[in-house]
């Protein structure tokens, strides 16, 4: 069992990285999974030229998988070029979690990425890039 709720995941859950909110963020987006009540908000500040993530934070509540995988995602994308972040996929998140997830729980793990991508997308549309 510890394969899933193993130290790394629990550690991220108990000590979430980049947790909180950012003032004057360029991007703020929140979504929730109404089925289980998982909720995640992500705030992003971009670099001067808008090409990279300069600062990022998440907040929210829900199950361990959703919160811990959001924390892992923060670590992963911090300071990365937007182009790279946009390329992240389902499998990348599964790799971060590193433990087998059943289909019903994959949705929980994907919430963070979904919020981040939707926020980025909206930002790019609004700024006509």
């Amino acid at each position: 069992m510890e394969d899933l709720y193993r130290e790394n995941l629990l550690d991220h859950y108990e000590n979430p990285r980049h947790h909180g909110t950012l003032e004057h963020a360029d991007i703020s987006h929140e979504e929730s999974n109404p089925l289980c009540g998982d909720r995640i908000r992500i705030d992003v500040k971009l670099s001067e030229d808008g090409s990279r993530i300069a600062e990022i934070a998440f907040s929210g509540d829900g199950c361990i998988i959703s919160q811990a995988s959001a924390s892992m995602l923060m670590d992963e994308v911090d300071c990365k070029p937007i182009g790279e972040v946009q390329k992240l996929e389902r499998q990348d998140v599964l790799d971060m979690v590193g433990a087998p997830l059943t289909a019903a729980r994959v949705k929980c793990a994907m919430l963070g990425l979904k919020v981040l991508k939707a926020g980025l997308y909206q930002y790019l549309v609004d700024h006509q890039k």
Partner: protein, 414 residues
């Protein structure tokens, strides 16, 4: 009275359920999700198999042996279910896919024909989506008002509020006989009497009641009663809508097609008699036959004994869960008014995490909103965990549940 009820020989019963002998993740399966769908005894599996293996043919109007025989078996199944729920006659038993279809049938056929703008429907805050969304859709489409019987803090229907809700505009009252989340058993009789007094028809969602306790639709005097076969030892794909004769006869058909018409030309059509009027196309007749075998099985156990057994299991589960630090039981804790579904939360553990951790111990419970989102909004909980029981549930399985909860708490350091 109590000691005259035969109690269940659970060890014997379990031998009829091959799926209960499995191992999951290397552990013996502890199946505590019967409220979602029950396991099936070999008697039902063999009824299914035999119906296909022996003299199979489509029912109705075949003039040859196989078709006659299958039609007979199908008719017998309807008779068995008629007796099981105390319906006056087989014509009152309409076969549908599941309780959801039964309730939609009433909303479409009765609702769209007999209800109009300005009318009111009374339902409750604890309904399953199946007995909520069809009325919500109807209400919007027709300008009908929905009114809700609220809950008491204990999780029972606040029937003190019923009289003020029952205005003369109320044309329909509907509620779950047993809640699939709170487990609350509502005595339908007084509600039905008061609803009838203002001329409203009453629809009872019996999905969580019919599998677990004696039901007598004539004694209840409800106008409609809905149930799903797969929750009461039967196969998937079959359910029942009970309806009173005059109401069913007055209703237009829901779906149309073969078998449900008496005669049709290019310009006109006359419907067949009830219940066939509501059964368009080739019915799920093999599933109906197997549901007949399922109610045979339950009737042989005795529904009083089934209820007594579940009362004992739920009482024990309440007792054991109460001792777990951080555990909160959702709904009544009095086993006399609680069916065999125990919903709870564990402080600081999301129900989905709990579900996943319990699964690793072989313990299968359900986590989520159990298709009762409005109720969960009222409760202020996005999700809950639910362990539910049936005739094959043993007290040692409750112990396994509690052990697994402790282990989850340990793993998550809660």
């Amino acid at each position: 009275m109590k000691d005259t009820i035969r109690s269940l020989d659970v060890a014997r019963i379990r031998q009829d359920f091959p799926a209960l002998n499995e191992r999951v993740h290397g552990r013996p399966l502890v199946f505590l999700d019967s409220a979602a769908s029950s396991q099936k005894p070999i008697q039902v599996l063999s009824a299914l198999d035999q119906a296909y293996r022996t003299s199979y043919a489509n029912v109705h109007r075949g003039v040859y042996y196989n078709s006659e025989r299958t039609t007979d078996l199908y008719d017998q199944a309807r008779e068995k279910i008629t007796r099981f729920i105390g319906a006056p006659a087989p014509e009152n038993v309409v076969f549908v896919r599941n309780a959801t279809e039964a309730l939609n049938l009433v909303a479409y056929s009765y609702g769209r024909h007999f209800l109009q703008a300005g009318d009111e429907i009374v339902l409750t805050e604890l309904e399953h989506h199946a007995n909520f969304v069809p009325w919500q859709v109807l209400a919007r489409e027709r300008g009908i008002r929905l009114k809700f019987i609220p809950l008491t803090p204990q999780g029972t229907l606040d029937l003190a509020r019923l009289d003020e809700l029952l205005t003369p505009r109320v044309k329909l009252v509907t509620f779950a006989h047993v809640s699939n989340v709170l487990g609350t058993i509502t005595d339908p009789r007084p509600v039905i009497e008061r609803a009838h007094a203002v001329g409203a028809k009453v629809v009872v969602d019996g999905c969580q009641a019919a599998p677990h306790m004696p039901v007598d639709v004539q004694a209840l005097d409800c106008d409609f009663y809905a149930l799903s076969g797969h929750k009461m030892l039967g196969p998937t794909g079959i359910g029942v809508l009970y309806g009173k004769t005059d109401v069913l006869e007055a209703m237009p058909p829901f779906m149309t097609g073969g078998d449900m018409i008496s005669s049709v030309t290019f310009d006109s059509v006359t419907w067949n008699e009830i219940p066939v009027k509501f059964e368009a196309g080739t019915p799920a007749f093999v599933e109906a036959i197997a549901l007949g075998a399922a109610v045979d099985y339950l009737a042989a156990l005795g529904m009083d004994a089934v209820r007594a057994h579940e009362r004992e299991v739920v009482a024990y589960a309440i007792e054991r869960l109460t001792e777990v630090p951080g555990a909160t039981i959702i709904g009544p804790t009095d086993p006399d008014i609680r069916g065999g579904a125990l919903t709870f939360t564990i402080k600081d553990i999301h129900p989905h995490d709990l579900g996943t951790l319990l699964d690793r111990e072989g313990v299968a419970i359900r986590a989520g909103h159990h298709c009762a989102q409005p109720l969960h909004v009222r409760l202020g909980l996005p999700a809950t965990a639910r362990a539910s029981f049936y005739i094959y549930t043993e007290l040692r399985e409750i112990d396994a549940l509690i052990e697994a909860i402790y282990k989850a708490k340990h793993t998550l350091r809660k």
